[in-house]
Every structure is written in structure tokens, then in C-alpha cells.
Amino acid sequence: MSVFHELMVKPWVTAGGPVANPRDGGTSSWTAKKIALRVFLAVVAVLFTLLVIAYGGRMAYEDWRPAPQIRLLWANTFALILSSVALQWAQYSVRRGHMDAMRIGLLAAGAFTVVFLFGQILAWRQLSTMAYFELTNPAIAFFYLITGLHGLHMLGGLVAWGNTVTKVRGDFDAAKITQSVELCTTYWHFLLLVWLVLFGLLFTGNNLDILLKLCGIR
């Protein structure tokens, strides 16, 4: 039943309606964890959206000085894409019962994520040694804040990932592992998407600036 349809129901005239099916309460067939992850991702989306808006809002002032470009971010982005691809492969494998392939995919995803995080720390160091480095420049402060928060979310993902990895050693319940791998995959894809938006809009040239000019804000 669509949400709209459900909201149009008149509960006072449907008293005593059939309740044979456990799903008659309109509860979703998704598991609780799957819904919870989606709700959490909505919260994360709001967090990063607000940061992008704050960044754009600050950019609209005339004294804006863009942060220097860091080429290493391209390599980091590539590593994050690979980790997402590896998890997608792990999910594909676990759904078909190929447990060894799933393990390889899972481990590769973790390794690429660690490479990504390590690369981000290197990028932080690179920026801090540049001649332009000045913490009071909002563009630079925003760079540290936004990449830091994104990195923290990746680290949180690695905790869930580590939990899954310990479970796939030895005997395990295939259904539970399938769910864990699916949840990790969703999370990684989402954080990759967030990163691509952040990277594309804020950290590769003046793309947000162009967008703001198109909207007539700058």
C-alpha cells in the first residue's frame, strides 16, 4: 500500500478488517536493520548537505580564497571506488553462495578503505606543508572538517566491517552474513556517493562556484 493510500484510510470505518496476514499492519518486508541503516544514512546525508550549504554560503562572500588543489585526492577517490566495487563483488558472491569469493571481496574492500584513509591523512599533511596553509582560511578549515567527518564515518564503517570479517571465519549462518555484507555494501556505496559529491563540488576546482554563479548567488 502506498504511503498516500495508507494516509487516506478511514480507520473508524474499517474496524474489524481482516488481520490474517502478519504484514497487515503495513510493516515493511525489510528487516529492522535494513530500515535502520537507511534512516541513519538519511541523517548522514543531512549532515553533509548542511556542510556543503555552509561551504557554499561562505563562498558567496567576496573575500573567499580557494584552497590549493591536492592531486593525491584523485588516487584516494580511486581507492574508495575500488573498495565499493570489492564490496559489490562480495555481495554478489554471498548471494550465490560463493563464500571464498565473498571473503576475498570483503578483505579487499577493507584494504582499499584503509588505503583511502591513509591517503586522506597524507593529503592532510601535504596541505599543512604548503605555502598557502593558513587555518583561518575557511576553505582550508572546511577541507579538514569535511574530510575529517567523512573519514570518521568510514572508520565507523570499518568497525561494522571488522565485525563481519570476524564472523566469516569458520562456521557461520549464511543468512546473517548475507545481511551483514549487504548492509556494509549499502553503507560503502552511500559514503562513496557522498565523497564523490564532496570531491566533485568542493575539492576539484571551483565547481560549486560555477554552480553558485549559475544560480545567481555569486
Binding site: 495508507e6 494516509l7 487516506m8 484510510v9 478511514k10 480507520p11 473508524w12 470505518v13 474499517t14 474496524a15 474489524g16 478488517g17 481482516p18 488481520v19 490474517a20 496476514n21 502478519p22 497487515d24 499492519g25 503495513g26 510493516t27 515493511s28 525489510w30 529492522a32 530500515i35 535502520a36 534512516v39 541513519f40 538519511a42 541523517v43 543531512v46 549532515l47 548542511l50 556542510l51 555552509a54 554560503g57 561562505r58 562572500y61 573575500d63 587555518l135 583561518t136 582560511n137 575557511p138 578549515a141 572546511f142 579538514y144 572538517l145 567527518l149
Partner: protein, 599 residues
């Protein structure tokens, strides 16, 4: 009239909804301290919130003593005064009301009212409480650090919040911001639980449109909180960085205490936007659970179905959506573009429409109802008064041209206390009087309850009604002392003293309530399982107070909405949600005829 239900063929096979695996504690500590039972967590949340709320009550006394009797209490200096104002506001809004409505009532009522055994993630739920407690302890710790707690005002506006000269600009503000960040982390854990439990753990037959409005209110408030708190989280982190690392997110180039500070290029208005993007939905995070609960109180104690149930649900959804589009009406004097002011004034007035629909529906629920003036009903009616009052002054403040001269005056203080303090706290009290029998198995004392109600209701009016007038005179808010200002007549000072006496009076009478809570726990009249003859599932549990798992061996099956009161033709004036149509006891023909000779 013989018909009770419309579908007589409904049946429910004995199959169960997939059972959840419950955590079974074996020790006292496992059962009551590190508990994973939502009902125990609810009590933990409630006791912590009320405890810290009492601290905020005492702070309001101290601040009122200064305002009512300036130059009398020498232990209150201007710095203390600002610290009292700040902590009073922050504690009441976030650590008391948000935590009590969502963590307290949410935890207790969601699983019971939707027919679930517990929250879907009991462990996360437990962690949520302990993180909340940690946040409260950090806040309390700020009273004991050098410089004391922050005195920046509950809105914590930079640059003043983190510059020397503002009380607590070193340790106090850091503890405040870190405490807020932890509160938000803890709340997010709890909030995920509340949302997913409502979406996923409803029992059979409990469609969304059969949910009691209490659950709708708590559900929507949780959604709002999940989406609004990130704004506060981000701004807290950014301000911590400005303070500790010297970034300039919010701090412009500035001279402070005769010294040029190292900041440059920050934007203080950015903080205001982020803060109020959280801050306005926060009003509804507190209000929506109150709206939901009061709807149920009115319906139960007027023995009548809620008027316009669907409209009530739609109004909750509309208010939730619109609450994200009105934030800048808190910023009319920030120098914003007048077109923005026009936009935000318009959205603010639009949000009055669904809110007014709710008020009409509450009044129409009472209309021709069989009103029982029980203590919960008194508080519910008290809420309607306070809310209409605070809502109408909101229409004044929502309009830019009226709002600008009234900004930062006592009128604003009176407005938001009526709408966001008195109104919700009336519902909190009503709800406690209503559900205490289920939580403890004993009734609260009725006479003490009525004394508590009249003292609180009349007392709060004695505080806030004259405060509007002070605002019209131009008495500013947040001032330690107004001194011999020409435009403030002597009578305003007398009024201030009167308000302070009323505030002390109201505060002292809360002791009657606390005494009642404790006395009734041991000596109260046994309540039975359904003392109010209510229809919702929490009153249909096999045990009172409900045991862990709530509903005994089988979960209830729901056949009807939550408001079958005084159904024509039914023997009793209420039909619980889990009574199948064929089991509804009809009035015998002779009884019907005797009562109503014309049929």
C-alpha cells in the same frame, strides 16, 4: 442501534508475528542498571531528565530573585546571572523536555502501544541512555570548572560565546558543546530505535492509521530530531574547532579586550542559520509528542473518539514538514534581506493552519463529551489554554514589522514560555498522572494532584501573563538589572517582584508532585490493569506493571482504531483495540429500550 463493527467476518488465525529474542537479565544490575528493557530505560531517562530539570528550576528561581529584587542578593553577580539564564534554557529545552518526551515517554509507550515486546535494538537503546547520562554529567561538570558554565545564552551565538568577557568562555563553553555533541550521538541511537520500532514492530492489525496519536506525535518528533540535530552537531564541532584550533568558521577578524585576535574571515551568521535550522524544529520536537499525548488524554477522559483523526495525523505531518522552512523568523534582527523576512513570515503564518486545525479538533473532541475532570484531563485542558495563548502571541512575533520592535524584550520570553514551557509541561504532568498507574500499579493521589494542577496552572499564568506587558513596555530580556531607566516605570519593578513571588510559589508546589510520586508508589490506591477504561494496547497487558516482553505468551491482535469510545450499541463505553468484532458485548434490547425509550 445494534451495529458495532462493520466487518463481522474478520478472523485472525493463531499464528504469531515473528518473535523477537528477548534479553533475559539474571542479576539486579542487569535488570535495573544495565537494562535493555525499554520500560526500565524509560524510567532511567525520566528520572535523569526530571533530576536535571529540577536543577534548571532552581536556576530560574535564582534568576527571578535577581530580576524581582535587584541589589538584594549579593551572591548573584552579572556573570552568574547570565550563566543561570543559559543553563536554565539549555537544560529545559534539550536535557529535560527532549529527553523526557522521546527517551522517557517514547521508550515506555512505543513498544506497548504498537504491540511489540520491546524496541527493535534493545542494546543500542541501552547505550543511548548511558550516552545521554554522560552528556548530562558533562553539563553538570561545567558548574565545577574554572570560570563556571557558559553564560553565552542558550543560543550560544559566536563571536561572544567564545571570547573572553563572556562567563565560562574557556572550559564552560567547551563542556557545553561536547555535552551537546554526546547528547546528539545518544539521541540518534535512541531515535533510530523509535522510528524503526514504529515502522517495523507493530503487531498484526496495527496499521499506521490505527496508531494512537501519541505514537504519531513521538514518531514524527523523532524524525524531525534525527534530521535537525545534525545542524546543531555540525555547529558545535565547528565552534569547538574555532575555540581550540583557531579556525575561523564563525569568527570574523575581531578586536577583543583591546587585542586583535588571530581570527579572520569567519561568518557569525552562519552559526545562527545552522543553530536555528535545528532550533525551530526543536520547538516541534517538544510540541509534537505533547500534541499526540494530549489528544489521547482528551479522548480517554472525555469518553469520546478524537475529532478528525485523519486530519490530526495530516496536521502532524504538515507541521513536521513546514517546521524546516521557518527557522529564520528567529533572525529578523540579524540584518537579513527583507525578502527573506517576507518569505519566513509567510511560512511561519502558514504553519499556524495545521496547528489551528489541531486546536479546533481538541476543542471539538470535548464538545458534547462525557468529560471526567480527572487530574490528567485538567492538565490537558490547561495545555489547551496555554497553547492557544502562546500560539496567538506567536502570530505577532511571526510578522516582521511587529517582531522587530518586540525583539529581545520580555514579550518574547513570555511567548516562548507559554508555548514551549508551560504547554508541554502541562502535558508531561497530565501524562504522568495518566500512565503512572500502569508504570507502578498504583494511582497517584487525586487531591494532591488537583492541588498541584491549580497551583501550577494559575501560578504559571501569574508569571507569564504580566510578562507580556513588561515586554510591551520595552523591558529587555537577558539584562542583569535595568536600573533607573526612564521608559520603565516603577510599576514595572513591582510587577517583576510579583512575577518572582509567583515563580517561587509554582516551584515550591512542585514538591507536592514529587511527594505524591513517592508516597503513591508505596501507599497509593491499587490501580488494576485499566483504571481509565482506555482502549489502547498498553492497558490490555496481562500484568500491571507490564513484565519484560509486555504481552505474555501471545502478542495482541488489533481489530480497530484507538478511539472506540461510547460506541452506539456497545455495552461498555470503550472497546479495546484488541477486542474482535464478534466479542463486543452488545447492550441487551431491554437495557437499550429502558435508556432510550424512543428507539
Amino acid at each position: 442501534m445494534e451495529y458495532v463493527a462493520h466487518d463481522e467476518t474478520a478472523f485472525a488465525p493463531p499464528a504469531e508475528v515473528a518473535e523477537v529474542e528477548l534479553y533475559h537479565p539474571k542479576t539486579f544490575i542487569g535488570k535495573y542498571i544495565w537494562s535493555q528493557d525499554a520500560k526500565v530505560i524509560a524510567i532511567q531517562y525520566a528520572i535523569t531528565a526530571i533530576g536535571i530539570g529540577l536543577v534548571a528550576l532552581v536556576l530560574s528561581w535564582l534568576m527571578r530573585l535577581q530580576l524581582g529584587f535587584p541589589n538584594t542578593f549579593h551572591f548573584i553577580d552579572p556573570s552568574n546571572y547570565l550563566q543561570f539564564v543559559t543553563l536554565h534554557g539549555m537544560i529545559m529545552v534539550i536535557y529535560l523536555l527532549t529527553a523526557l518526551f522521546l527517551g522517557g515517554f517514547g521508550n515506555y509507550l512505543i513498544p506497548l502501544m504498537v504491540g511489540a515486546r520491546d524496541m527493535v535494538f534493545p542494546y543500542v537503546n541501552m547505550v543511548s541512555y548511558w550516552v545521554y547520562l554522560f552528556a548530562v554529567l558533562l553539563l553538570i561538570a561545567s558548574f565545577f570548572v574554572p570560570g563556571g558554565p557558559t553564560g553565552a545564552g542558550w543560543t550560544l551565538y559566536p563571536p561572544q560565546a567564545i571570547l573572553r568577557g563572556t562567563p565560562g568562555a574557556t572550559w564552560g563553553i567547551i563542556l557545553m558543546l561536547v555535552s551537546l555533541a554526546f547528547f546528539i550521538i545518544g539521541f540518534t541511537m535512541g531515535g533510530l530505535n523509535y522510528v524503526v520500532t514504529v515502522l517495523q514492530a507493530r503487531t498484526r492489525g496495527m496499521t499506521m492509521m490505527r496508531l494512537p496519536l501519541t505514537i504519531w506525535g513521538i514518531f514524527m518528533a523523532t524524525v524531525l530530531a534525527l534530521l535537525a540535530f545534525p545542524a546543531l552537531f555540525v555547529s558545535a564541532i565547528m565552534m569547538i574547532l574555532d575555540l581550540t584550533l583557531g579556525t575561523s568558521f564563525f569568527m570574523p577578524a575581531i578586536v577583543s579586550m583591546g587585542q586583535q585576535r588571530d581570527y579572520a574571515g569567519g561568518n557569525p551568521l552562519l552559526f545562527q542559520h545552522l543553530f536555528w535550522f535545528f532550533g525551530h524544529p526543536e520547538v516541534y520536537i517538544v510540541a509534537l509528542p505533547a500534541f499526540g499525548i494530549v489528544s489521547d488524554l482528551l479522548s480517554v477522559h472525555a469518553r469520546k473518539n478524537i475529532f478528525g483523526y485523519r486530519m490530526m495525523v495530516w496536521a502532524i505531518l504538515a507541521i513536521g514538514g513546514l517546521s524546516f522552512l521557518v527557522w529564520a523568523h528567529h533572525m529578523y534582527v540579524s540584518g537579513m534581506n527583507p525578502y527573506f523576512g517576507f518569505f519566513f513570515a509567510t511560512t511561519t503564518l502558514i504553519i499556524a493552519i495545521p496547528t489551528a486545525i489541531k486546536v479546533y479538533n481538541w476543542v471539538l473532541t470535548l464538545w458534547h463529551g462525557n468529560i471526567h475532570l480527572t487530574v490528567p484531563m485538567l492538565f490537558a485542558i490547561g495545555f489547551i489554554f496555554a497553547f492557544i495563548h502562546g500560539g496567538l502571541t506567536g502570530l505577532f512575533l511571526g510578522n516582521v514589522t511587529v517582531s522587530v520592535p518586540l525583539s529581545d524584550s520580555m514579550f518574547v520570553v513570555a511567548h516562548f514560555h507559554m508555548v514551549m514551557a508551560v504547554a508541554p509541561i502541562m502535558v508531561v504532568f497530565g501524562a504522568i498522572y495518566h500512565w503512572y498507574p500502569k508504570i507502578t500499579g498504583r494511582m497517584l493521589d487525586d487531591t494532591l494532584g488537583k492541588i498541584h494542577f491549580w497551583a501550577t496552572f494559575l501560578g504559571t499564568y501569574a508569571i507569564y501573563l504580566p510578562m507580556h506587558y513588561l515586554g510591551f513596555l520595552g523591558v529587555p530580556r537577558r539584562y542583569f538589572a535595568v536600573g533607573g531607566t526612564d521608559f520603565i516605570p516603577e510599576s514595572a519593578h513591582s510587577l517583576n517582584a510579583g512575577i518572582t513571588i509567583a515563580a517561587l510559589f509554582v516551584g515550591v508546589f512542585q514538591l507536592v508532585f514529587l511527594y505524591n510520586l513517592v508516597w503513591s508508589y508505596f501507599r497509593g490506591k491499587p490501580a488494576g490493569s485499566n483504571p481509565w477504561k482506555a482502549t489502547t494496547l498498553e492497558w490490555q497487558t496481562p500484568d500491571t506493571p507490564p513484565k519484560h516482553g509486555n504481552f505474555g505468551p501471545t502478542l495482541p491482535v488489533v481489530y480497530r482504531w484507538a478511539y472506540d469510545y461510547s460506541v452506539p450499541g456497545a455495552e461498555q463505553d470503550f472497546i479495546p483495540q484488541n477486542v474482535p468484532p464478534q466479542e463486543v458485548v452488545r447492550k441487551s434490547a431491554s437495557t437499550s429500550a429502558a435508556r432510550n425509550p424512543t428507539t
